[in-house]
Symmetry: C2
Subunit: 456 residues, 2 copies
Amino acid sequence: MSLEEALQESKESILDALAQDDNRMLEGLLPELRSADIAAILSDIAEEDEDQPTVFALLESLSLERRANVFGYLSSDLQAELAELMPDDRLLLLLEEMSGDERADLFNVLGEDRREGLLRRMAHREREDLKRLASYEEGTAGAVMTSDYVAIPSDLTVSQALMRVRQTAPDAETVYQIYMIDEQGRLAGTMSLRQLIVARPGAKVEDLMIKDVIQLGVDAPQEEVARLVAHYDLLAVPVVDEEEHLVGIVTHDDAMDVVEAEATEDIHKGASVGQLEGGVSRVRLWSLYRKRIVWLVLLVFGNLFSGAGIAYFENTIAAQVALVFFLPLLIGSGGNAGAQAATLTVRGMATGDIGVKDWGKLMGRELLVAGALGLTMALAVAPIGIIRGGEMLALVVATSMISIVLFGSLLGMCLPFLLDRLGWDPATASAPLVTTMIDACGVVIYFTIATAILMG
Amino acid sequence: MSLEEALQESKESILDALAQDDNRMLEGLLPELRSADIAAILSDIAEEDEDQPTVFALLESLSLERRANVFGYLSSDLQAELAELMPDDRLLLLLEEMSGDERADLFNVLGEDRREGLLRRMAHREREDLKRLASYEEGTAGAVMTSDYVAIPSDLTVSQALMRVRQTAPDAETVYQIYMIDEQGRLAGTMSLRQLIVARPGAKVEDLMIKDVIQLGVDAPQEEVARLVAHYDLLAVPVVDEEEHLVGIVTHDDAMDVVEAEATEDIHKGASVGQLEGGVSRVRLWSLYRKRIVWLVLLVFGNLFSGAGIAYFENTIAAQVALVFFLPLLIGSGGNAGAQAATLTVRGMATGDIGVKDWGKLMGRELLVAGALGLTMALAVAPIGIIRGGEMLALVVATSMISIVLFGSLLGMCLPFLLDRLGWDPATASAPLVTTMIDACGVVIYFTIATAILMG
């Protein structure tokens, strides 16, 4: 049984219990489930039945600890809706129980008034911690990090350090990577719990710790965090402020969420869809419209260039209407080859496989591959050219195919580099953008060749 | 300094040392670097300068342990090339030092003869372990798992268990999740090291362990592995054979690699590029050609339908050549909207955000959004229609725009579901495929409307 099927089954049992108003059955079901699963099921109910009060009641039936765990897995939209239904003191309890990073995320979805009211009721230290975590810009290391880590002075012995780890264990996000700080709170070193448990109990931590720690600034973009964690296979990466003070860590699970979210964003950008908040099935229709219309309308005006090209060659077309037959084929093929080249380049740049320095080499490779692609496709369409309009038309079509595919591929490959150079996201070189550009140029290439060969 | 810049700098120092034949400088440089970085630099040298012997020499200058670590980070192509340069006994030493999963991966890139020769020289247990790990099909849990995990009998006490963990620590991939097995080697439970270090030393592991373990079969697809690790925020997930014997674990770092690789594959598929082995800058030109040409030629024939549609309406076009002006604009816009819809659906299905059950709901949403998109775009082009050919042409263009965008979006949204139903990968619904289909249908829609309004 796959994950989805298992979740669907559990969800149906819960809905059954709810329909029969069978509290005892519910109380038997929920503790059996894992927090991540309860969250997935509640999200599903909220989304399909728009029944936030039921979701709220189900949440309230859980223990506080459980509720905090489940809450951390919910989307920020749903968190905001549920927080609306919650009186201040319940919300405060929940916030206190949640882990540092999740608490800050939840806090950020609340309205300004609500936030002020809640802050006033918190203890000083908690308030400062929360304000700090909630203040980092979205998409930075600061915004994804947690403040629940294990930090110890570096002059402890191994056995003292282990004792500290045991004491901190219940609250820390991870205890498997431990950080050493100096008196000013600056990051001085790190050790894994694995190293700690095999070390001699009397040894000094500072003699064993790794001093050259892989670390990030609070303002580092979250992609950089994810890339460091992936590149070095880390369990967690420490985050420091401008004065090198340790202020948080990003754990592997949060880094994995970033990888997924960044991939989704890049995939959407690849189809000229703006960044959505939340999944496509949940996001509001108005927001979905806005994220799609901007590029679509821009591309409409881009497509006008194709029209203008056609208008310019109106005499050629009027003399040889058969030329129009091959128009979608030629510009479409160029667009497809260009979209392939652009996508390969954009993804290569996103994963770090390609850098700006590789531009020349890739250009040479693309020239060879696109030449071969164009030739193959020209051979595929030439016979149709002969059938539709004789050998001269076949020559026009074949020559145009090679030229357009070659031009399209090189444009698709170079555009991401160019955008990057201009300080734009290379992923802006989407399939629709590349296709539209190649359409316009393809029209001109095709009819120029046609005019030269047929009308000359 | 970003990760890329730091790597570039280290690489230049190494190349300098090599150019000056300065071994002492090299010996000073390499130990400073992390294994993942050495691997990245060596890959870069191998790729840019095609200088495998230099890479080989650099590798050989490292300690065996270091070399094994670095080797694990290299691409399988480069591993194969370097293994060619290595005599059997060096290769055997290296294999023995590598971790279970990486050893099996390296083994799999060797030629059959080489494999047989190496197996004959291994100890029985090692040989069986390697043969088993190397036998799993690529892309399954079995192929990404490692056999270096900590498994203990469940009747140990906490302090006995901790002792076992300490003994196994040097060889295990992770010691932070520990698995309990019964006498037959079947998975019976799991405990985290965190739970273990805070537990009472005399307590029995079987009383503390989680018995309902999240686990996978060896044949589970690697996407499923990655999705479980991400969904439950796991450090590792255990893999069992048909008889529930624990045979391996997949750790979070390998799961993250799977997430990245799957995203790359989906992004490439979204532009109709077949699955590449290795990055775009490294893959052989012939392979790149093959992975791109198949769909390009298929789409050429798809585009012929657009041509056939145009041929069918030749009389309408001959009577109103101005219609051709709007052709790329209309079919291009439909294609762009359709590519957006397809991409949103494909990614939603890949992340588990959308299931087959959501089809009806998404259909309704897409109808509303696409209707609004089409209307907006129709309003954008209508004035141009008036300028180019008067009000009747504007009416044709606006009506066609709404119809084509609506049709294209619904097709783009439904196609992934349809493909999934037919047992295909939904990601096959690429932007080029969707665009080509909409081009052909768009031609028919446009000229049918034009014929009805203008020639009626």
